[in-house]
């Protein structure tokens, strides 16, 4: 196994005293694609935000990119350390052209201005993004266009660890194939990809090296791509019964935050 790109140990996160991540352990080596799958409210998006350094969570545990801890770094420092989050719900920024953001970001990440423009031009051609460049960041874009824009930004900014938060949600099947193709092309020995996904659909196009299943704030099972096939066939209940877990009965336990935020529109 090659060098570890992303290492997470005993990661816990809560918000207002409500535990969401309850001890996550994860290792993604360079050159591999890992998928995290889990039902709504299991903490997948929170994991992305906590890795990216979003404020507002109480966090403990270890996080490292290429062996260097990122736990005490600000959001932008984590990006500069090579971590990039593709957002599930990218926020619109009216008036700020995508080209301007990308150039400034590439420079902030260490590229020279000339190189930044070159990379933007190259990836624009490759991904057919011409008409996105001089439009507002995520402004007036459809759901699918936003995801394409996120993947385009990835391609330009060349991170070492990519955290893709439901890059496939809200897409029709052609768009899933297109976005997945772009991700697959970024697979390389210098890059680690962590894909958070709800459905196994995208995994037909981006074949993961490992699949992790997240439930109730923990990774409860890990395996090869066949784990995604099991989910496809039997759903999360099949996994639960194989692991001897009982399905959560809302009435009989203390309410947790996932009861209130049961669907993905809430950015947990």
């Amino acid at each position: 196994m090659s060098r570890t790109a992303l290492q997470v140990q005993g990661l816990r996160a809560s918000i207002g005293g409500l535990g969401i991540l309850k001890g996550v352990d994860l290792e993604v080596p360079f050159g591999e694609v890992h998928a995290i799958m889990g039902p709504n409210g299991s903490g997948k998006s929170t994991l992305c935000h906590v890795l990216a350094g979003k404020l507002g969570y109480e966090v403990s545990g270890a996080m490292a990119v290429d062996g260097a801890s990122i736990a005490d770094l600000d959001v932008y420092q984590r990006a500069q350390a090579g971590l990039f989050q593709a957002f599930q719900y990218p926020v619109g920024i009216p008036g700020l052209d995508l080209a301007v953001l990308l150039e400034e970001a590439a420079v902030a990440l260490g590229a020279g201005p000339e190189e930044a423009r070159e990379r933007i031009a190259t990836q624009t051609r490759r991904l057919g993004m011409e008409r996105f460049l001089n439009r507002s960041v995520n402004g007036d874009l459809s759901g699918g266009e936003k995801k394409r824009s996120e993947v385009f930004q990835l391609a330009v900014l060349e991170p070492r660890v990519m955290v893709l938060d439901e890059i496939d949600s809200g897409l029709d099947i052609d768009s899933v194939r297109e976005v997945a193709g772009a991700v697959e092309e970024m697979r390389s020995e210098e890059v680690a990809i962590l894909m958070i996904t709800h459905y196994s659909r995208i995994l037909n196009y981006v074949r993961p090296d490992r699949v992790h299943i997240m439930m109730n704030g923990q990774i409860v099972d890990s395996g090869g791509p066949e784990l995604a096939d099991e989910l496809e066939d039997g759903g999360y209940s099949a996994v639960r019964s194989r692991l001897g877990m009982t399905a959560p009965k809302v009435a009989s336990r203390t309410p947790s935050v996932s009861d209130f935020f049961t669907d993905t529109p809430f950015d947990l």
């Binding site: 404020l55 932008y76 301007v100 953001l101």
Partner: protein, 412 residues
């Protein structure tokens, strides 16, 4: 020409001004039209300006605009230079009888307040800029209004007439001598004639010790289109009372403006939109920012009169409040006397959006540059749509510099 040998029609206007001035008091925050501000000066603090002795050098806005179709320069209210070019520039003494003479000074009543009264009573002969009927101007008309004499109050008076079916852009640039404490109290009137496509872009780039109380009034005739741009940057206290009358059937007004106050600036906008003609359309959109101890006032009253059926009227004001001590009063208002209309208003004031900052920072940008990009985007939404695109670049630089300065002061 001096005030003494003016045509009779203008003497009558002066008399009305003098009478109004004699009975007018300095306004205070109890006056509805002056709510939210407490001005720290009176008219008598300033000496009426006399013949000016010199003007200012060209600034970056004039450089950015470059070639013009015509224009004029006023210094301390006195017209010192006229470049007629492709337009007509009339002086009150030679205004042809009839239409034009009845327009000059007709739109802003001297009874509005003491400053309007004083302008009518004391303004040196101003200018009427007319775009001839049917003419389309490729380059803008620029009116450079300067105030230079410390301690003075000046009264510029400008009337713009877009002839029927003409198409033109007029830039009104306010600026003042650096460091000079002075007051400017201008009247600017504009008429978009039948079928005209007129734009009026106002750049308020006064220096830091200047105060301004401006009265602007625009009227649209049948089927005309008026675009209004506003860039408010300078002045210690800078007020613009802007009245827009959509008089003619099928006429429309679209306004996009920005302002940015820092230090202890007070920027004060009072906008009155009146729909009189049927099937008239207005869309007013101003975005502002306040930093340090600055404050801004925006009041927008849209009045839809009984005959204005089929009206569409929208106004929006958005504010970035960048420091704890900065303040905004943003007050939209509607007065609707007809029931066949589409109408809406929105107003918001708040700090930079944390979700947007998080997104930009997740791309590797430290907080300060991320904030600067957000501010740039915030204003760009307006600046990228200015009727005179050349005004955008110097305006972007100005707001970026102001914001960067505010960031530095906040950090130290």
């Amino acid at each position: 020409m001096s005030i003494d040998d003016e045509p009779t029609w203008l003497v009558g206007l002066r008399d009305r001004g003098r009478q109004a001035l004699a009975s007018a008091a300095m306004p205070g925050p109890k006056d509805e039209d002056w709510k939210y501000v407490d001005i720290d000066f009176v008219l008598d603090d300033f000496r009426p300006a006399t013949e000016p002795s010199g003007g200012l050098d060209r600034d970056e806005y004039l450089e950015a605009v470059g070639e013009v179709s015509g224009g004029l320069t006023m210094v301390d209210g006195t017209v010192v230079d006229v470049e007629a070019g492709e337009i007509e520039v009339h002086r009150p003494a030679d205004v042809p009888d009839g239409g034009l003479a009845s327009l000059y000074g007709s739109m802003v009543s001297p009874e509005v307040d003491v400053f309007a009264a004083a302008n009518h009573a004391m303004a040196p002969p101003g200018a009427v800029v007319r775009i001839p009927a049917g003419r389309t101007l490729a380059a803008p008309v620029v009116v450079d209004i300067q105030a230079v004499t410390a301690g003075s109050v000046s009264f510029p008076h400008l009337t713009v007439v877009g002839g029927p079916d003409s198409e033109a852009s007029v830039v009104v640039l306010y600026r003042s001598a650096p460091g000079a404490e002075l007051l400017v109290s201008p009247i600017v009137e504009a008429l978009a004639g039948r079928g005209a496509r007129l734009s009026v872009s106002v750049v308020q780039n006064l220096s830091e010790q200047a105060r301004m109380v401006a009265h602007h009034q625009y009227v649209t005739e049948r089927d005309s289109t008026l675009r209004i741009g506003e860039v408010g940057l300078g002045g210690l206290y800078a007020r613009q009372r802007l009245g827009i009358s959509l008089a003619g059937r099928g006429s429309s007004v679209q306004m996009g403006g920005i302002y940015f106050g820092d230090g202890s600036q007070v920027l004060d906008y009072r906008i009155y939109v009146t729909h009189q003609g049927p099937r008239t359309t207005s869309n007013i959109f101003l975005k502002g920012a306040v930093a340090d101890n600055a404050s801004a006032v925006w009041t927008g009253l849209m009045r839809i009169e009984k005959g204005a059926v089929g009206t569409s009227a929208f106004e929006t004001n958005r504010n970035l409040v960048i420091s704890d001590a900065a303040k905004v009063n943003s007050v939209p208002n509607l007065e609707i006397l007809t029931d066949d209309l589409q109408c809406g208003h929105g107003s918001s004031s708040g700090p930079l959006d944390e979700q947007q900052l998080y997104y930009l920072m997740s791309r590797g940008l430290p907080r300060d540059p991320a904030e600067r990009l957000l501010v740039r985007g915030f204003f760009n939404e307006i600046l990228s749509g200015l009727a005179v695109p050349d005004l955008a670049a110097p305006s972007r630089r100005a707001v970026s510099a102001k914001f960067a300065g505010a960031q530095q002061r906040a950090a130290s």
